[in-house]
Amino acid sequence: MLNEQSKPMPNANVFIKGTIDGASTDSLGNFSFTTNKQGEMTLCVRMLGYAEFNTKITDKNSTALVLNMKPDNITLDNVVVSAGNFRVKGNSQFGKMSAVDIVTTAGSTGDLYHSLRTLPGAQMVGESGKLFIRGGDSNESQTYIDEMHVLSPYTATGDNMPVRGRYSPFMFEGINFSTGASSSEYAQGLSSVLALNTKDVSPITKIGVNASSVGFSGGGTRAFEKGSVSLNLDYQNLKPYYSIVPNKYDWVKPYQLFSGSGQIRFNPNQTTVFKTFVGYDKTSFIQHIASSTNQPTRNLAFNDDNFYLNSTFQKTTESGYKIFAGGAFSLKNQHVDDALIATDSYRNKEWEIHLKTKVSKRFTDFLRLNVGLENFFRHNDIVYSYASTVHTDSINHSISALFASAIFNINSNLYAELSDRLEYTSINNMWRSNPRLSLTYNMNGVHFSGVVGQYTQLPENKYLLTKNDLRTENCMQYVGGIYYETKNKVYRAETYYKKYNDLVLQQSTSLTSEGYGYSKGLDLFFNDRALFKGFEYMLAYSFNLSKRKYQDYTELSTPQYATIHNATVSIKYNIPALKSILGVTNRFASGRPYHDPSKSGIMNSTTGFYNSVDLSLTYLVSQKVIIYTSATNLLGRQNTYNYNFINDTTNPDRYMKTPVTDPSKHFFYIGIFITLSGKTAYDVSNF
């Protein structure tokens, strides 16, 4: 018995089909057995990881057989390494991270997006909190839950206050972070896609509560034989926290958030999953803004309602077709009084319906096909009023797409994926084709991967509201990488080049699609969990050179959010003697460009570098009680992200410069998580 490289295969199961007559091959791949069966019969060979091999034999010619086996489809389908894709949690060991890993990463403060910012490719834009990937703007990163688009994945905050993810990392079973070259089934992401998968099954009935320095929450799951129902409620109020740890803002009513979410999972059998997720949150605060040169004092009153509903169906048929269908509805309703000046009012209502269906099947060892259709229906209206002046704008439009990919398993070490995404956008009446090709080669466990492909995205609504016929923005991506993984170590190196075209460009008062730019760089990642017991460290470094002529830039310049060097060192130490996990993260980013109007050109100056040393400590009080604490920026460095300039009233040729910094130098968090149900342990998740 030989394998695909004609080497002996030990331990294969060789037998006559329909009988129990057979034997296992020895270390040299040899086998022999006797059977009472006569005439023609089928000799079958089975081996884990290999396709079943069948051959006809007779009782007359059943000696001196030489048989060859090939890797099976499942093994072929399990190839998960491809350039640009960072499977944070899933089957692959490449950078896998669980929800517990996320919350125990110092500096993450329990937030998924903060945690992802420690990975290579992500840039440090502290005043935003959103994902800025490989020189791309934050709107170029999209989030999907169970393959359905999420219109606003971040919480709402005021200017220069970092946002957080709306959803708890504990909700998700799979976290796949594509820092480039994402799959053709994900739309409207020029730079990156975060694909989150909720658990298909939640088999444990549980209930838990937690109280923290920012609020309290509680919820639970009721498991049934064929499904489960989960519910979670969360209330946050920063007033007590601000009274102990003041920040630079003056709050009339500090930040307050109420959120509720629920999920129903139904598994009528092993091959069918229905899931429905619903989430609602309401954010409000009133911020006192002192008078400035030409502005009287005002109280900015912010209210945001966000609703998300997502329902999906997945089934694998007996003939091997994997069928998916889903629908999602996102609604964001913002109302801000005293938004720009006292007594004005701003309302922004935005919704999206996303419908998607797809089917995939492996037809042969060589070919797997994946085909799908999707539609986005979008609406946005804004109303801005001041005194008797009311300005309104509204758009309704849709995006329709057909996507298909063919995966070719050329041999057990080489595979190629050819895909296209044909997209029609109604607002500008444009058709765009997005062809992509990826190749992955496995040489003794070292994976080499390369992708070339086109990505498109509509301009942001704030521009489309003003001008409907702006062209669809596009980005051509070239990504190449090397990946190697052992049991406890992960090595990744990736290089990329992105060429942007048709970006929105504002020239005096007119908007055009003549913007363009590029971004290129190198990402390095190393994770070691074997230096000594219980100790894990991660090193990530990103080098990026990015320039654009877009928005109101008058020349090709490095965007304000981009940094050339980003580095993270993160360590975790599990100390069983103290029942604790200690985490320390040090993040560094080189200075960011900013525009100083007193100098010539644009983006003509650079801020100081960014550095933050963060600490977290997770203490397991008992099987059902966990205390989690974290503190950011222990060294107390004043990190400056940008500068705002306003004219000096005493001298019109001079400007007054104020730095954009964090609301406070440090953020402290302490929370106690209690599991109330009887059967669980170490489980703070209510989902």
């Binding site: 296992s24 444990i204 599990n574 009887g678």
Partner: protein
């Protein structure tokens, strides 16, 4: 004793044996005797042949799941460990689709598979699966409080957990004693799950 006998007889019926005990009994004995990788691979091949010849033989599916879990524990190759555990999950999924299986034995095996998954990477998988492991054993014991495999595996897991928290699981010696008595009373001639005695020895060594 009578209740144990009637329980084991019930198990036999529930596993809907269609092959004669004469054919299958030696395979079960081989399973119980297996200690090293090559033993388990040999018996895995035998079980696979039985299952392919008699697809309705749920006991073969059950034992294949068990052997795959054992292989994941004894084989040194990490990649193979993961594959065996994936195969075990497939067989457990098949079992869950069948009616009239012994749910207590099913949940015990499910707990053991998760425990093996945890053993692959305790730091990551410990917090991830410990709740499900406790839940699986508790469910197995709620269905049948006299399942010796569920008793001993649950006791071992609870003991390890409390040790990690610098506490003591007071019920550990009592659970070992109870499981030991139940194992001794097992009728090994019946075609029912009989594995697990070695876990008692292992538990005694940790007492």
């Amino acid at each position: 004793m009578k209740s144990i006998k009637s329980f084991l007889t019930g198990l036999l019926l529930m596993f809907s044996i269609v092959l004669s005990a004469q054919d299958f009994a030696p395979v079960v004995q081989n399973v119980n005797k297996a200690q090293v990788v090559s033993d388990y691979i040999q018996v895995r091949s035998q079980l696979e042949r039985f299952l392919l010849a008699q697809p309705q033989l749920s006991l073969a599916t059950y034992y294949l799941a068990y052997v795959d879990i054992q292989l994941s524990l004894v084989t040194p190759d990490v990649d193979k460990k993961t594959k065996y555990l994936a195969e075990a999950e497939t067989y457990l999924n098949k079992l869950s689709e069948l009616k009239d299986i012994d749910k207590s034995e099913f949940f015990t095996l499910k707990g053991l598979r998760l425990y093996s998954l945890m053993a692959l990477d305790p730091q990551t998988n410990g917090p991830k699966y410990s709740g499900e492991i406790v839940s699986a054993y508790a469910t197995a014991l709620a269905i049948n409080p006299n399942n010796p495999r569920a008793i001993i595996l649950s006791a071992l897991f609870k003991n390890d957990m409390t040790k990690y928290l610098h506490q003591t699981y007071d019920g550990f010696p009592k659970d070992i004693e109870k499981a030991s008595a139940l194992f001794a009373a097992q009728d090994s001639l019946l075609l029912t799950p009989t594995w697990g005695r070695s876990w008692v020895d292992y538990a005694l060594s940790k007492k």
